[in-house]
């Protein structure tokens, strides 16, 4: 009796298995495979190839000098003053852009969370920079900093910040602020939108309850708004850090890394090495170094995220 039931159950099970396999193992891949193939061929395979390049000498300008060189590229990297400078600039660029983007973005989100006339139009207009192609934002700001056609040097001079109206993009001490300004201009809407979404998800009853309890507007902000936004802020800031650290377009277009490498960050250094010098081996070594740094950062990020997202 028991054996009987058992066999009938198993035969039913195997047949159900077959349709189970079709529906749960094969069918999803039918919808997924084009995406997977493209990502695999265009991103993952080149990624592995790229890592292997970093152990080779591949410079298109020296076609007879190719081959495996072991850690030679990395050794060169270690002694490369430009690399360490670029690393330092990467930190300056990322922290400078990020903190300004965040503060201005938070202000804008708080502003958009209140009511005023013409808010819809205002919102559309202040978000516009996000839609401007990056190369164009970069060019526009480069032009604004140009004393011939741009007003900024003259204004900075009038404010007493510059001794004379010159182009700060040509000044090694100040040049990095050019791309940072452009990046802030371009990135504020992103922060404002994400923070606004988080703000709007705070139940208004909380503010009403706090008001009943006698909280001031400032107390409402520090005791309700900020704690509620904290997880969103943390995650957005952390992901954004990676994105900005990788973001070379602004710098490449505005300064090309100059003057005297004072604005060169790691990702723009990768690009100029690959594009100008056509030295793929060395460019890949820099890229692997950057990837390593980002991985360390991502691990920390995931760890913190786990601590924060308890829901």
């Amino acid at each position: 009796m028991i054996a009987n039931t058992h066999t009938s159950v198993t035969s039913g099970e195997t047949r159900a298995r077959r349709s189970f396999y079709w529906r749960y193992m094969v069918e999803p891949y039918f919808y997924l495979s084009p995406a997977l193939i493209l990502i695999g061929v265009v991103m993952l395979v080149p990624l592995i190839v790229g890592i292997s390049y970093s152990f080779q000498s591949i410079a298109l300008l020296k076609p007879f000098d190719t081959g495996w060189v072991g850690l030679e590229n990395y050794a060169a990297l270690w002694d490369d003053r430009k690399f360490w400078l670029a690393l330092e600039n990467t930190f300056r660029w990322t922290i400078g852009s990020l903190s300004l983007q965040f503060l201005l973005g938070l202000g804008l989100a708080l502003l958009l969370n209140t009511q005023f006339r013409g808010k819809r139009l205002f919102q559309a207009l202040v978000f516009l920079p996000w839609a401007v192609p990056t190369f164009l934002s970069a060019l526009t700001w480069a032009w604004l900093f140009n004393p011939v056609i741009g007003p900024l040097p003259h204004w900075l001079h009038d404010l007493g910040l510059l001794s004379e109206p010159y182009n700060i993009l040509g000044d090694p001490d100040l040049a990095i602020w050019g791309p940072i300004t452009a990046n802030v201009w371009f990135g504020v809407p992103f922060f404002a939108i994400t923070l606004l979404a988080a703000l709007q998800s705070i139940p208004s009853e909380l503010y009403e309850a706090a008001e009943m309890d006698g909280a001031s507007a400032w107390q409402c902000f520090t005791k309700i708004t900020l704690p509620f936004l904290a997880p969103m802020i943390a995650i957005t800031v952390m992901l954004r850090t990676i994105w900005i650290a990788n973001f070379a377009d602004m710098i490449y277009v505005m300064t090309g890394g100059g003057p005297a490498n004072s604005t060169q960050i790691l990702s723009s250094y990768i690009f100029t090495t690959a594009f100008r010098k056509l030295d793929f081996g060395y460019a890949s070594a820099i890229a692997v170094a950057l990837l390593g740094l980002l991985l360390i950062y991502a691990v920390i990020l995931l760890f913190v995220r786990q601590k924060l997202v308890k829901v």
Binding site: T5, V9, S19, Y24
Partner: protein
């Protein structure tokens, strides 16, 4: 029409078994209600019948034909969803005729059938509306119309009334009962509301923790619950459960009161006594089996609910028919209707119902 057989049905998600050894025969034209608390597996069972959820083991047959591997579209079963699942981008007419559209029936035939069904449900003036322009009750009707139009072998309902307000729910409940009577089709209905179960079902299946607890007609479940779970789940207000210890020819309550029961019981371990609030009689103070003090009195008009406290036993609920003048703080006497008491063993199984008075 359809007869359904469920044999040793099993459901697994990954390694976790959520249902095991479900056996159920549904007769042609029968109205079966699957009832149980949320997470008991009733919806999963319904979805396995529908073909929306794969069956991990066992067999499901309709009219003797194995259905396990059949796609939902090939089973010829209609389903009314809790959310109604009306297609928001189609008007009522197209919503109702969608199955015929898929089957490739011609437009004139479609229109005619839709109109017929719409008349039955009082929807003929709403055919060109979109779902978002309908009220909850109207949406519910469209969902039913969409099912009727196909003339399927069986109907499945997944908590169809839970999104309606109370008065509409009563109305639609009647509508479904009428529909069943008119069509005579096999229906399987999932709900967590025992009133719906008791009023609609030919037979009720009580599920809990992925197991069938009891199958039976509404009255059977009310009068002879197979275990403590069914006893407490069916019937409102909930049955009182009181711990008892065995005694000669009966049981003893914690306050020392002895309840004499028939000799068919042979208790030798601690057990529980179950009694429904409507099966406790209220008597003047000192004249019952024991005394109690009422704490809260709820006047419902047709009935009165008394929440009383009994020394040594704790709180009990008593329901008295009609209005009684009791006030909180009143001392009263209580007596159990012995033929309506239930005894459950320590593991919750019923040891006997309708116990007759022995001494």
């Amino acid at each position: 029409m359809a007869r359904m057989e469920i044999k040793n049905l099993m459901k697994r998600y990954g390694q976790t078994e959520v249902m095991r050894d479900i056996n159920l025969d549904i007769k042609d034209g029968e109205f079966i209600v699957l009832v149980g608390p949320s997470g008991c597996g009733k919806s999963t069972l319904l979805r396995m019948i529908a073909g929306l959820e794969p069956i991990s083991g066992g067999e499901f047959l309709i009219d003797g034909l194995r259905m396990n591997d059949m796609r939902p579209r090939d089973r010829d079963i209609a389903m009314v969803f809790q959310s109604y699942a009306l297609y928001p981008h189609m008007d009522v007419e197209r919503n109702m005729g969608f199955s015929m559209e898929i089957r490739g029936d011609d437009k004139i035939k479609r229109k005619q059938r839709v109109l017929e069904a719409a008349k039955v449900l009082g929807l003929e003036n709403l055919l060109s509306r979109y779902p978002k322009e309908l009220s909850g009750g109207q949406r519910q009707r469209v969902a039913m119309g969409r099912a009727i139009i196909r003339d399927p072998r069986a109907f499945l309902f997944d908590e169809p009334l839970s999104n309606l307000d109370a008065s509409l729910r009563v109305e639609m409940r009647l509508e479904i009962a009428r529909l069943h009577k008119r069509l005579g089709a096999t229906m399987v209905y999932v709900t967590h509301d025992q009133v719906e179960a008791l009023t609609l079902a030919d037979r009720i299946v009580v599920l809990e923790g992925g197991n069938i607890q009891q199958v039976g007609s509404p009255l059977e479940l009310y009068e002879r619950p197979a275990n403590r779970f069914v006893a407490q789940f069916i019937g409102s207000p909930t049955m009182n459960i009181i711990p008892v210890s065995p005694a000669k020819n009966g049981v003893t309550l914690a306050n020392g009161t002895k309840i004499s029961l028939s000799d068919m019981l042979d208790l030798n371990a601690a057990a529980e006594l179950g009694i429904r609030p409507e099966h406790i009689d209220v008597l003047p103070y000192g004249t019952g089996d024991f005394d109690a003090e009422s704490e809260v009195v709820e006047h419902l008009g047709s009935d009165t609910n008394l929440f009383v406290r009994v020394d040594g036993i704790g709180p009990l609920m008593v329901r008295v028919h009609g209005n009684v003048p009791n006030q909180p703080g009143d001392k009263i006497g209580l007596r159990f209707q012995l033929h309506n008491t239930h005894i459950f063993s320590a593991d919750g199984q019923s040891l006997g119902q309708r116990i007759t008075l022995a001494a």
